[in-house]
């Protein structure tokens, strides 16, 4: 028994462990908290020494200033981001589960090569093609149109790969075979056998895609002007009113809320999926 003590000690959580973790959590949370604090203060108070560390009652006033400035389209930006993210997420989920199913469970010529091609595309940064894309969408008459920030992102290489990995282990070949013998079409098999099995992983993918697109900035900034997404609108606020900290921080707080909500509700699944992916891949 005593011989195992060293090993036991490694598994136990000592007070020091908790102190370390509490410190880590404080550092993680502090910038959020500080953002909110400044958003509830008057603008002069940010210059105080020591800096303000507790919220005050000025949030309504600060946020009121944000919504009053017409050129930054704050509410519109929020709504646009919601529309864009929901559309993209739904589309990525459908296309990724379909392609993942095909790559994992269907036999066709060139399968491995095509899967490698999908992986290779993950290396390409989206910024690379922005200049011609800008020209393309302008020619299509889609400048300042939400379609321009939706269409290029309707599919995701990461999504295809993640669903493929998950489908290989989560969907049983026997079930698919049995459904075939029953006369099910491939689409029917996708719908009633594959999709239900993929649901947990698809949920994680959906959340990751939503978060990624909520935060995307460069391309929306280039192609949208009077019809911005929330990140673009935030950028305009910071650039034009950078001295008005309390207003900028009130706006940033509100823009962060949807993400934090998504996170609080689904965080457990996201983390589970993420950690599972790390070991499997």
């Amino acid at each position: 028994m005593t011989m195992l003590n060293a090993s036991r000690r490694m598994w136990r959580a000592s007070p020091l462990t908790y102190i370390g973790l509490i410190l880590a959590v404080l550092i993680s949370i502090f910038p959020f908290y500080f953002m909110f604090v400044i958003g509830t203060r008057t603008n002069d108070q940010i210059h105080d020494t020591p800096p303000p560390f507790t919220p005050s009652g000025n949030f309504g006033d600060n946020f009121g200033r944000v919504v009053d400035i017409k050129e930054v389209y704050f509410w519109g930006g929020l709504l646009n981001s919601l529309i864009v993210c929901v559309t993209i997420t739904v589309s990525v989920l459908i296309t990724s589960t379909l392609a993942g199913f095909a790559f994992a469970k269907l036999k066709f010529k060139g399968r491995n090569f095509l899967l490698l091609a999908v992986l290779a595309t993950m290396m390409v940064p989206t910024q690379l093609g922005i200049i011609p894309l800008y020209g393309m969408f302008q020619d299509l008459g889609l400048f300042d149109n939400l379609l321009a920030v939706i269409i290029p992102f309707l599919t995701s290489a990461f999504g295809v790969f993640m669903m493929r990995q998950y489908a290989s282990s989560a969907v049983s070949d026997e079930l698919i075979e049995a459904a075939r013998v029953d006369g099910c079409s491939t689409l029917r098999i996708y719908w009633s056998v594959v999709l239900p099995a993929l649901r947990p992983a698809a949920g994680v993918l959906g959340l990751l895609i939503f978060m990624e697109n909520w935060n995307s900035f460069l391309w929306p900034y280039a192609i949208l002007q009077e019809n911005p997404t929330i990140q673009v609108s935030l950028y305009h606020i910071t650039r034009q009113f950078y001295t008005d900290y309390s207003m900028v921080f009130a706006a940033t707080s509100v823009a962060t809320i949807p993400l934090v909500l998504v996170f609080i509700v689904f965080g457990r699944q996201i983390i589970g999926g993420l950690m599972e992916g790390a070991v499997k891949a």
Binding site: L98, I130, T186, L187, A278
Partner: protein, 309 residues
């Protein structure tokens, strides 16, 4: 990562008395068509979208970068070879960006992985209470938008009223002459690296934690029977067993840290979309950035392989 798939032999099962081989009826032909075409139909959306909005613009950008190119008035475009690249390599901006990218890369990556390892080690206690809470809390920074993070950290690192300088002044650093986090090279690297690390350390810790939990526990048990202490076990079991996770992890870190390149991408937009007659030059910026990312990934890979070995 395995690309192999399990292949099941076609099961010829008699089912509900139906004949096992349907004749060349209409339904049979449809089924064969379905089997043949469905896979391609299912993967087609990805390749179509990537082809039109990923590959084509990428190649087009390369083509543009070899031209004097005007986005609006294309009649005066002219092939100029590598002149755009030569011009770019002559600017101080470009070399600053290169130095910044690699400087911050070293400053951000190394502490980030060490901290993540430490944090993962703290989280990896089976008897830890409120596990999910701790995991969520360290992952939360990753859920924020980079724009928001930049705004908040810009303020935290402000010269005269920033929280960081205030804390430093409490311990007597820079009381009369506060540090200019935004102006000087070294200090700005530290500030930006701090921001990047804040956003990514928790994420990395979770990935490493997943790797740690996949290590069989008997290894530790038998090591301690052999008299190996806690640190010895960490060095001789945990670290070597984490190697594959480390490499995976580092690959994904780099993608996320693309934030570091933001100054360059903004420069690219300024030189193409904001100033349409300079689109060729902007395209050269884009391709240089792409090559730089590939180089950085490679350097990163080598660095990690060395360190972990």
């Amino acid at each position: 990562m395995s690309l192999s798939t399990t292949t099941t032999p076609h099961a010829r099962v008699e089912h509900r008395g139906r004949p096992s081989r349907p004749g060349p009826t209409r339904i049979g032909r449809l089924t064969r068509l379905d089997l043949k075409t469905s896979p391609y139909l299912y993967i087609a959306p990805f390749f179509i979208i990537f082809g039109i909005f990923g590959l084509y613009p990428m190649v087009w950008t390369l083509w543009m970068s070899l031209h004097k190119w005007n986005l609006v008035d294309q009649r005066r475009n002219a092939f100029i070879g590598f002149d755009n690249y030569v011009e770019l390599f002559k600017t101080e901006f470009f070399w600053n960006a290169v130095i910044n990218t690699f400087g911050m890369f070293v400053l951000a990556t190394v502490p980030q992985l060490l901290l993540a390892l430490f944090l993962a080690n703290l989280l990896n206690r089976p008897l830890l209470k409120a596990k999910t809470f701790w995991r969520l809390a360290v992952f939360v920074p990753n859920a924020t938008s980079v724009a928001a993070v930049a705004i908040v950290f810009g303020t935290l690192f402000a010269r005269d009223f920033g929280v960081v300088n205030w804390v430093l002044s409490l311990v007597g650093i820079g009381r009369d002459d506060p540090i200019e986090w935004h102006a000087e090279e070294w200090s700005s690297w530290i500030a930006i690296s701090t921001m990047v690390d804040w956003r990514w350390t928790g994420y990395n810790a979770l990935i490493l934690l997943a790797g740690m939990q996949a290590i069989p526990r008997d290894l530790y048990e038998s090591a301690s029977i052999d008299g190996a202490g806690q640190w010895k076990q960490f060095w001789s079991i945990t670290l070597p067993m984490l190697r594959p996770t480390f490499i995976f992890d580092n690959g994904s870190t780099l993608g996320g840290n693309q934030r570091q390149y933001q100054t360059i991408t903004m420069y690219m937009v300024e030189n193409s979309i904001d100033n349409v007659s300079r689109a060729g030059y902007g395209a050269a910026v884009a391709w240089s950035l792409f090559l730089m990312i590939i180089l950085a990934s490679f350097a990163n890979y080598l660095l990690v392989r060395r360190t972990v070995r």
